[in-house]
């Protein structure tokens, strides 16, 4: 069980870490774009983001399942991962975390004094430099957006169960393993895995908080 648990922890870290990285890579620029600009369709985009923030993970699991299944019109495309692989789980978690990161980043950007953008432009900033300056001002909110994204995926079970299949040694992560152990009546094992999951969440959030705190006092 110990070796298995180690594998499960490592896979959980890998799946959630990679998913958080890509959802931040996509979500932060999307949040900046939505927070700073007006464009046709922005309202619809914001409504979609808000909807995505509360989307049931199991529905996202179902959508990704169809997308990656043989019935999908996109089936066979080289960049799409196979079902029941860690990559499929990562894709589902990116879709889950993206609206959280984008939505909270947008809110953080909108909380920065709107006059600042014009004032940094008056000091000679290009549009990109102005956007980066505002992002820097909103850094605490952006960290909170990443925390929210991490919280959304580390605790998630429905989507990864559907697209990963909870295959031992291949796609079994902490949350799916906890469900399995509980169903089998192995409460001690389930409780141990839960404590590891809580510890992981605590360590990652503590690191993000330290980063936030350092920036706040920077």
């Amino acid at each position: 069980m110990d070796a298995q648990a180690g594998e499960i922890v490592l896979l959980s870290l890998r799946v959630s870490g990679v998913a958080l990285f890509f959802s931040s890579l996509l979500g932060i620029p999307a949040g900046v774009l939505l927070g700073l600009n007006r464009f046709p369709g922005k309202r619809l985009a914001v409504i979609l983001i808000y909807t995505g923030m509360g989307f049931p993970p199991v529905v996202i699991g179902l959508l990704v399942y169809f997308l990656l299944s043989q019935r999908s019109p996109l089936a066979g495309l080289p960049f799409l991962p196979d079902l029941f692989t860690p990559e499929a789980m990562i894709l589902a978690q990116i879709i889950l975390a993206f609206p959280l990161v984008a939505g909270f980043t947008m809110t953080a950007i909108q909380a920065v004094d709107p006059a600042l953008r014009l004032q940094v432009m008056a000091l000679g900033a290009t549009r990109a430099q102005a956007a980066l300056s505002i992002l820097r001002e909103a850094r605490n909110g952006v960290i909170a957006a990443i925390v929210a994204g991490f919280g959304g995926i580390i605790s998630e079970v429905g989507a990864v169960m559907m697209v990963g299949g909870n295959i031992a040694g291949r796609t079994r992560v902490l949350t799916t393993a906890i469900v399995l152990e509980t169903r089998q009546g192995n409460f001690e094992a389930a409780l141990s895995l839960s404590l590891i999951l809580l510890g992981m969440a605590f360590v990652v959030n503590a690191l993000l908080f330290i980063l936030q705190d350092r920036w706040q006092n920077d």
């Binding site: 006059a115 940094v120 008056a122 000091l123 000679g124 900033a125 920077d218």
Partner: protein
């Protein structure tokens, strides 16, 4: 005199309302031009247009013969960076005073800026507060820091929007002295928006009156105050209600 800005048929319209209408205005290199007028007269709008921060609805601004028109998406960065503006309500970055003053230099990729930053801080009397967090500053200190982050860039044109509004007499004197020094020592062109006619009289070579978005008259400061050509100017400088 050498014309730096030539304003021709300039209009700015917000939500179908004409907020600025300047048929003609020249701004000369090396002068201090004061733009006076009551609140809502379009003074700040004129400054934002001169800083190329928003495009005009009609007409054009020629900056050294380079046109800024309604069709100009953005002025070339090299021209835009020759002009700097200090706003009436400056917003500083959540950082130290020194970092705020360095900001514009960093944007330009200038690394060897220590002495320039120190000098700019000294000019505004903020050198002892260089390490202080911007969010802890008073109104006067924020205004002086904003001025320092503008003058450190050594712009050719400095646009000041109510630079001494709500400041105590000490800070007003300090900023007015600096304005005159920048003009005399460095030949900087300054356009100062103020509702304080006494300040315009103290500082400016020429003074312009804006009323309800319209340029009423622009003259050398002595003539503007002693024998204005328009009854509305006379009324304004005597503190009467004009519209």
């Amino acid at each position: 005199m050498d014309i730096l800005y030539r304003v021709e048929g300039l209009q700015q319209i917000y939500q179908n309302r004409t907020v600025l209408d300047v048929p003609e205005l020249d701004i000369y290199r090396g002068e201090i031009l004061a733009v006076v007028g009551p609140s809502g007269a379009g003074k700040s709008t004129l400054l934002r247009l001169l800083a190329f921060l928003e495009s005009p609805a009609r007409g054009q601004i020629l900056f050294e013969n380079y046109p800024f028109t309604p069709l100009t998406a953005e002025m070339p960065l090299s021209l835009r960076r020759r002009v700097t503006m200090v706003f009436q309500r400056p917003v500083l970055l959540h950082d130290s005073v020194r970092a705020n003053v360095m900001y514009g230099l960093r944007l330009r990729g200038e690394r060897d800026h220590h002495s320039r930053v120190e000098q700019a801080l000294r000019e505004v009397g903020m050198d002892r507060m260089a390490h202080v967090r911007a969010r802890t500053l008073s109104g006067g200190e924020i205004q002086r820091t904003a001025l320092a982050r503008a003058i450190v860039l050594q712009p050719e044109v400095l646009l000041l929007d109510e630079p001494t509004a709500n400041l105590d007499p000490y800070n007003v004197r300090l900023i007015e002295d600096l304005i005159q020094r920048l003009n005399r020592q460095y030949g900087m062109t300054l356009v100062i928006v103020t509702h304080n006619v006494f300040q315009a009289r103290r500082l400016a070579h020429r003074t312009a009156l804006l009323l309800d978005g319209k340029l009423i008259e622009v003259r050398d400061t002595h003539t503007f105050f002693e024998s204005p050509g328009d009854a509305r100017t006379r009324a304004f400088i005597h503190g009467e209600w004009v519209c």
